[in-house]
Symmetry: C2
DNA sequence: CTGACGGGTGTTATCGCTAACATCATCGGT
DNA sequence: ACCGATGATGTTAGCGATAACACCCGTCAG
């Protein structure tokens, strides 16, 4: 009954059952044109009957190509990167590619290089690096040019193919919303300054202020955590002239919200707050947070597209794609009192 | 200068350079004992000089085995699952295995079966399924028995190899802490009842209450979100007899914290609260949250170990490993007023 | 009527590796 | 000095696919 040692059916088994050569089976599998319809059907039936599944290793060996994409990402559970990764895995899966993730503890040159090496060992068709800060971007210099590579959230000033959320536009829109509500100026609690995302948001915020001839207050630098948002919020809450705050992400915004609340400054009645990311909880903050929503699924799709272009055309297209985020208006913004 | 068409060096190239046969190179690579030290060094040098890297496809073809592990996980950004996945990828990477992640939108039988099929197409050495609820666990019946499989966070009542956090112990400890602080009983805000994690925590909580002859209040069922924690918290805040709450995760706890705060019930002076998960922000909640910390890295290690055991021994060990979480005491627990 | 053409199919070589067996020294025991 | 055991290495045969070419057959133009 049990034939444990029975090996999986191979192409020749299918060929024998269908009464054709294995090469014809291969042609059916790869949709070659010159196969009679009747033969095609016979082969298909045999494949089904045997439960045949092509051996990717054999195919990779002869073609020299795999259907694998390597991703290098930091070992973090921050909402943005995690969502992006998740979306990318889904998009790649739908396109018939498997995704191999190489996690890295810190984004330094050495770790990234090692992760890239591991992926090359696997003969991946291409690599995606989520490189949100400059040390990560630096590490990409080591990647051999012939390996298809796309950077996500990387350095906008570099020439590698890059897909990123348009931080500037998102921040500009958020800031403008606050100014148009009537606020004289908008304060900003920023993410870590060596992150491109954070830098881009600072830039967009400043541009909006300048565009409206508003005073540009000093940037409150923080990391991405609610804790640091809270600290920054405590300072802002003490300053009566602060009536509008744009936080670089929703967790920072949460910290600000809390600090304001503790100080008795009501949001949005006394102070308006806007975040960035639209984390799932944002709609349930008190008050529900107006924020900027990046389309991670779109970023993932574009990344995959750019990578596959390089894979098939061989050329490293010096290309860049930017995804505009949308402003999600909820209840944390109002005109100044 | 540019030899684009030059193919990667193969084993025979290394052999030629080292003046040995390709088989000897293979022996060096696989640490076979019968190779003279001097030869070994010569081969190593040649490998280095050529920048040779073994072709995994060729090896997989002849051995019939890959160094790939498939993971099936839900496409979610919940803290627990995301941390677990991240830790697993790291552990597997260190053990020389690549991880291919198959994301699934919903944990139903069909989606999971499809994801498993995709992994089988890739000839993965084994599969890990993060199966936190019963529909996911049901789907595992379809997985062929010969494929090494480990379930994480799965059904404790099933016979598949399983690694999981000891929800019962964690909940028991949390509840006991509150009882020993002097509270008459402890209320519980639970996660979705079809999740094994949530069920296990309910169980541990109830066991602790019964052990101490405390009254068992009705379970407040919620999902995992802060929003639902807030709703449950609003009810609890209105009930003066409620002095202690154990929430099934930190986000729920956050919602409870907020509801209490709004109602003017101070934590921990009037009401004590304990969470579960120890999310990074938990230490910065107001007040810093006492919670239960699962060791995701340990779960990942055990999962990998169990899987590799199956891979190498062929037998599907009917095994189960449980990781005890630790109670992290911060400032959200105090004796009743 | 014939030869060029092209659609449908089979045959053979090959990818880069490991398994299995073959070969050839070297060595210790009697 | 002979012989089998052992160690170090080479030789050969696949693994399961695709690529390249060969082949057979109609069809159609000249």
């Amino acid at each position: 009954m049990d034939q444990k040692t029975t090996r999986d059916p191979a192409m020749t088994d299918v060929a024998r059952l269908a009464g054709v050569s294995h090469q014809t089976v291969s042609r059916v599998l790869n949709d070659h044109p010159n196969v009679r319809e009747q033969t095609r059907l016979r082969v298909r039936a045999a494949i089904k009957e045997l439960g045949y599944r092509p051996n990717r290793a054999a195919r990779a060996l002869v073609t020299g190509k795999t259907q694998l994409i390597g991703v290098v990402a930091q070992n973090s559970t921050l909402y943005g990167p995690a969502s992006l990764l998740s979306a990318f895995e889904e998009a790649a899966g739908e396109a018939g590619f498997a995704v191999s993730v190489g996690r890295v503890k810190v984004l330094d040159r050495e770790s990234i290089a090692a992760a890239v090496e591991r992926h090359r060992d696997q003969r991946v068709a291409g690599i995606v690096v989520i490189a949100p800060n400059s040390s990560a971007a630096d590490a990409l210099a080591d990647v051999p040019a012939e390996l298809p590579l796309v950077t996500v959230d990387g350095d906008p000033d570099r020439s590698t193919p890059l897909v990123t959320v348009d931080q500037g536009v998102g921040a500009y829109d958020a800031t403008t919303l606050l100014l148009q509500a009537g606020h004289e100026t908008v304060w900003h609690v920023s993410g870590p300054t060596d992150w491109f995302d954070a830098a881009g948001r600072v830039h967009g915020w400043r541009r909006a202020l300048e565009m409206h001839n508003a005073e540009v207050p000093p940037v409150m630098a923080a990391d991405w955590s609610a804790a640091s948002g809270y600290k920054a919020g405590q300072m802002l809450a003490r300053m009566p002239e602060v009536t509008a705050v744009f936080a670089s992400n929703d967790h920072l915004a949460l910290g600000v919200l809390r600090a304001m609340h503790e100080r008795g400054r009501r949001v949005p009645h006394d102070v308006s707050v806007v975040g960035f990311d639209d984390v799932p909880e944002a709609a349930y903050f008190i008050p529900p947070l107006t924020t900027v929503r990046p389309d991670f699924a779109a970023v993932a799709r574009e990344t995959l597209g750019l990578l596959l272009e390089q894979v098939s055309e061989g050329e490293s297209a010096q290309s860049r794609r930017t995804i505009a985020p949308v402003l999600v208006q909820r209840e944390s913004v109002a005109p100044p009192a």
